[in-house]
Amino acid sequence: MIDWFGSAVGSALTAALLLGISCGVLGTFVVARRMALTGDMLSHAVLPGVVAGLVWSTTRTPLVVLGCAVVAGWLGSVVMQVILRTTRLKPDAALALVLSVFFAVGIAMVSRYQPSGVQAFLFGQVAAIDGGDLKLLVWVTVVVLLLVPWGFRVLRLVSFDPAFARLLGFPVRWVEAGFFLMLTVVIVIAMQAVGVVLVSAMLVTPAAGARFWSRSLSGMVWVSCVLAVLGGMVGVWISSVRTGLPTGPLMALAVTVCFVVSAWFGPEGGWLQRRLRVLRERRRIAGEDVLKRMWHAEQAGGDAGGVSVRVMKDLKAREWVGEGGLTEAGKRHARGLVRAHRLWETYLTERAAFKPDHVHDEAERAEHWIDDEQKRDLAEKLGFPEKDPHGSPIPPEEGTGGAE
């Protein structure tokens, strides 16, 4: 174990693991609260503090650097609040102002004092995360892991309904301050791994990707941890195999790949899932249209004409069509469709002042989406009509008798 932490790759992988966990947990809240760019602002605004800390403590004591950084980050958010309260500037401009001006102050200090070790904060260098930082990172991760599940409900309530939380007597301001403190600490440590610009990638990207796997906040926390850890470790691994490539950008890119994969294949609104749903609905509609045509033909005693093999297969799979034509279930479904169609036509002419010759196309679309409850509702509102505007009979509700 000693050797593992001693080796460069080992400690880098450990750092990526711990960072992934803390970034994943906090990032979920950051994204859910629409603070993604506030996180970006914080990561730039802490720079003057970091530089001041490095200048002040030449031995690079993590706590000194961290303390100064937290002060600078706090100052940044205060300035932003002041701008928003006292000027006409909008949040986007205020954010951009604080972000870039604080960063400029930091850069001016860097070029003036040239403190050692600042490169890691600017460009990210996982190797720069040494024993002291790693120890701090372990503590931070433990605190995040202990505090967040413990305060999960409180933090969730404060995040989404601060007024209600205040009403319940929660110390909203303190919870917010604690969240902000943890966020700043994690940002400062993450900065050393990936650099000042790419902290956002570690915070925001995994959490945004997690949205495609789960809809609950706790589920998102888990998934975003997994994505961040996976991305971070893959980044470290690639960078150690191809030495010379910077770790930070590789971690950011790996996390982005995780996001893209989630956005494609995630079961909650991923591209593939949405695409499949569209295709499924399209197939249902095509099937229902054919079913209706066959039912009309059967009623009139005529021929339904040709039906594509694929649609026919689909209809048989749904058991709407059997060997000898329409099944009982198929007939029932077709009657439901016709009932929806004619009820909707009636509604449009009677209540929405459509001309009777303009309602067919509308109803042709709507019939696939009106469910039984809505049909009942429509019928009731229209006084249980028996004929549609064109004089065709509206099939009665199933189970109430009536002509076959």
Partner: protein
């Protein structure tokens, strides 16, 4: 304040060129920045300023020099692409606009840095320069003779960017204005507001490329927003704001030079800090006005 600083500044041609280059840079960024701020799109400027990096590196790999149309084209393309991808992600649901911005610009920036390292031998672009620019060395770069004057190329590049920014205003001022405040009127009168927006974003990408060498990726955001913000606090009408932007550019470049010489720090950062001081002054005046 001792007068020697001023004497030194005025006597050395290098510092005059430096001031000129930074004034041009601020002017170039300030113009599209004004419209970004009034359209509440400052953060699109932030995204663009970071994501032109891969375009610059690829343009460099194709052409081999830092001043070729390939770089401008590549940068404009990658900036525009970023904004399009952000919009697309945001419209397709599940990812909100702020998160989409954070995802896309960091990914583009990361691609740029990796490319930069992969082809470190071929690309003569200092990674430092990406973050905070390096006007002091750029000014000693190639020189071009113009009317018998030995002009540093960077001055010409930033000057060109400034001309581009103001030319955009001169050519499509009305469209920019109407599109900023009343997009539906712009659409009704056939002004194609989305095309206007694309032009604005493209010009932003181009001026950011010029600003890249002077102040780097992050501080060009400051140059986009600062002049416009101080103009917005002083005046209510867009032409007046644009005038304020020009004034801001001149003052902050001179002041930045003074700060940089006095404190011995990076010039780009000093220009931004001077601009921030100006903003604070304007803010204080506006507070007094309001309280009276």
């Amino acid at each position: 304040m001792n007068w020697e600083i001023w004497q030194d500044l005025l006597q050395s041609p290098t510092s005059l060129w430096l001031m000129l280059a930074s004034a041009f840079t601020v002017m170039a960024c300030g113009v599209p920045g004004t419209f970004l701020v009034v359209r509440r799109m400052s953060l699109a400027g932030d995204a663009i300023s970071h994501s032109v990096l891969p375009g610059i590196v690829i343009g460099f790999l194709i052409s081999g020099t830092l001043d070729s149309p390939w770089i401008l084209g590549g940068a404009a393309l990658s900036g525009w692409l970023t904004v399009m991808v952000i919009g697309w992600l945001h419209r397709s649901g599940s990812v909100r606009e702020d998160a989409a911005t954070g995802i896309v610009f960091t990914a583009m920036f990361a691609i740029g840095v990796v490319l930069l390292r992969l082809y470190a031998g071929k690309v003569d672009l200092d990674p430092d320069c990406v973050l905070f620019g390096n006007l002091e060395t750029a000014i000693h770069g190639a020189r071009v003779g113009v009317f018998g004057l030995d002009v540093p190329q960077i001055v010409l590049v930033t000057g060109g960017a400034a001309v581009l920014g103001w030319a955009m205003v001169g050519l499509i001022y009305h469209r920019l204005l109407v599109g900023s405040f009343d997009p539906s009127l712009a659409a009704l009168t056939g002004q194609a507001p989305r095309r206007t927006e694309s032009i604005l974003l493209g010009v932003t990408a181009l001026v950011v490329v010029a600003a890249f060498q002077t102040v780097g990726a992050v501080m060009s955001v400051a140059l986009l927003v600062l002049p416009a913000a101080s103009g917005l606090l002083m005046c209510r009408r867009v032409p007046a704001i644009l005038g304020a932007v020009a004034g801001h550019a001149v003052i902050s470049s001179i002041g930045g030079m003074v700060i940089a010489t006095w404190a011995g720090c990076n010039l780009g950062a000093s220009v931004v800090i001077c601009g921030a001081v100006l903003l604070v002054l304007v803010w204080a005046v506006s507070l007094r006005k309001r309280n009276r």
